[in-house]
Each structure stands twice: as C-alpha cells, then as structure tokens.
Amino acid sequence: MAGESKPMKLMYYPGCTLKNHARNFDVSTVSSMAELDVEVEEMARWNCCGTVHALASDDIMHRVAPVTNLLRVKEANASEFMTSCAMCYNTLKRANIDVRKRASALESINKFMYLDKIKYEGDVDVLHLLEYLRDRIGFDKLAAKVKKPLAGLRVACYYGCLLVRPKEVAFDDAENPTVMENLVVALGGTPVPFAQKTECCGAYHTVGNPEIIADRTDKIMGSAHEEQADLVVVSCPLCAFNLDFRQADAKRLNPEFHHLPVLYFTQLMALAFGCDESALRFDLHHIDPLPVLAARGLMGPA
C-alpha cells in the first residue's frame, strides 16, 4: 500500500493521554509509521473522545464529543482516520456505529453543532492502528522493514476489553485474538500463550478502588510470568498504567509477584525498525524495560 518513494498520508487521532502520560505511545506511533513510509498527520482541533461509551439506549449527549471528532476528519476532506489508543478507538467507533443507525440522534447532534459549516453524515471510518497494519500494510511487508529482529524476545500480548468487545467494534476474534501475536512474529519475536489476554484489568477502578487493580494486575501479569514472558505489550494507556504502575500494589498483595515491563506495541515496532531511542521514551515507564531488552541483546546494557 505505502509507496516506496512517496509516503502515504494517514490522518491520526492521538487522544489526550498520548499527549500526557503516554507520550511514549505517541512518539513510537509516529516514528514507527514513518519507517513504514506512512506519514501520520495529526488531525486539527481534535477534542476528547469522551473516554467511555454511554450505554443508555437513547443517549445523545455523550455522542457529541466523539462525533465532533468525526466531523473534524470530514472537514479535512478525509474519509478515514487512525488511532492507536484502544479506548479512543472503541469510543469513537461505537459512537459512529450508533449514529449511523439512529438518524434522529445524528440529526440532534448536527443541530447542536450548528456553528460548523458541514454536517456529519456517518461518512468517516474509524480505524485502529493494529487493523491498519494488518489489513493495509500487511505483516509480510512490515517484516521486510525490520532492521533489528526481536530474536528470542518472549512477548505476552494483552488485548484487554476494548479491541475485542463489543463484536461490532472488534477486528479480531473476541475470545482468542491474534493480531498482536502476528505483529510480534513479523518483528522477529516470540509470542507466548496468554490465558488472561482478554480479561479486563479493572480500568477506571484505579481511581477509587486501586485494590481491585492490584488483584487484576497480579492475576494478569502472573499469567504472563508463568509463560516465561519477558514483557507484556498493550494498546491502551489505561491498561498500561494499571499493569505497569500498579505492580507495586500487586507485590504488596502477593509477595511472590514477579515484576515485568509493559510496552506499547508501537514501541516494539520502533525498536525492531531501529528508530532513535527518543522514539521509545522508556523514562516514562514504572518498570524499566531496559534490563530485559539488554538481556536479549536488543539494547545496550542498562
């Protein structure tokens, strides 16, 4: 898909967390896509996606934030855009599916956005980066760009909820997705079996009930450790926060808990494509990934 000489352009929605705590996800997305000859272009005037999809059958108010973003894409004369945050993807895509089905809700939202010259008509597609890599770039083509294969690196791929549920949003099997494992193979690494890969991490309970997250993190990371994983990869900054930063709580809960680093899948790409270290931003991690990567000969000694 991507031309050898002229880079493809792809509209990109980063989301607020990728501009704050998860800058490592943002910079590794942009840098690794450049290696694939795709120029990601951050959309203008994006706003918060709303974070969670309101489940009430007649909800309109909570669709305004996501639909405004879809309208911004349309304003830029694009018909599709990509986001690498699983939560943004889920929220934006579900809002899109909902307003495509409920004409009256869409009409109300368009009325609300009366200051905008154009109307949203359900005519923008929401893509997740993993879906784009698999279906548009192709893992064969991606493998050809690998400069530093992740040889020997054992990776547990964690999907959480948002990439696989509900089924209208999923771009892979709900119970046993494999898109990230296939990416890891293309990068030269070794995916490990991972029973907890679609078991929820507890999400926003990290705010008011961190003890629930400690328990979930213990179970999820413990299952990765049992499979002798070197690290866990994710595509959601909330999963990343819970599974990485809450490891101290998990250790308090279970003294046998074994610390493992948590990386974004885009950081693995940046590593394998030989991107500059500034594209990795390992300084933003709680559990430092350098020692395991050094042990596999993938980075200089920490």
């Binding site: 704050n20 489940l55 009430a56 509900p166 078991e199 629930i212």
Partner: protein
Amino acid sequence: MAITTSPTTMRNSPLQKRGPFVARVEKIAGQKLLACYQCGKCSAGCPMAAHMDVLPNQIIRLAQLGMQERLMASSAIWTCVSCLTCNSRCPKGIRIAEIIEALRGMAIGLRRRDDHLDIRDISLETRGVLPPIALISAMRKQTS
C-alpha cells in the same frame, strides 16, 4: 463482599412494585429482562465477580423481580466496569452491562445517594500520577 442473603431465593417480591421499575430499566437499557433464564454464564466469566456483593446474574434476577431498593443499595452496580465479557457470552444475547449502567444511572438520578466517586477523596498526589484516561472514565461512570 460477603453475600448476606441469597437474592436468588427471594421469590415472593411485591409484584405491584415491579411494573414501572422493570419498564424503566428495560427502556433505558434497551433490553428485555425476562429473556434471562438464569444460566449464570455472565457471572462465571465476570472479572469483577470476586469483588461484587451481588453477582451479575443475580442483578438481572433482582431486576426481573422489581427489587429496586436491594439493587440501588448494592455495591456491585458500581463494581461492574462495562468490560462487556458478559454481553459477549450471554446465550440469550442480553446486554447485561447496559442493564447495570441503567441501574447506576437510576441510582444517581434518583438522588438516593450522592455521586459514587468524590474526587476530593483522592489525594492530590494520586491525582497527579493518574493519567487523564483514568480520571475521565471514572468520573464519567461514577458521577452525575
């Protein structure tokens, strides 16, 4: 955390109360409560079940029976994180998470209790560490 009364054994609910409450939950959630035949698959796969005072299938049963007070007082409606594991596995295609969200909305809307989460209870230090994605989703789900 301990279940004091087993909700599934409460068969003699006051039926006269059932009507409007059931209708309201069904309308907000867009689901038919009586479609549930209590197989328990939702609770079996629920990652939050260990932290709930009433299990997801029991929540549906209580709702079928119109036991509004019991539901509004349960902590489980706040423990559910809308991970949708139950929805994707229910053999009857019931969207349990939608039903629980309707109950949360009713609990906040009825002013039976204040917002479930009070941001003032979270220390400034913790607030500084939490990413926006955590704070926004928690506020969206647990406050009015």
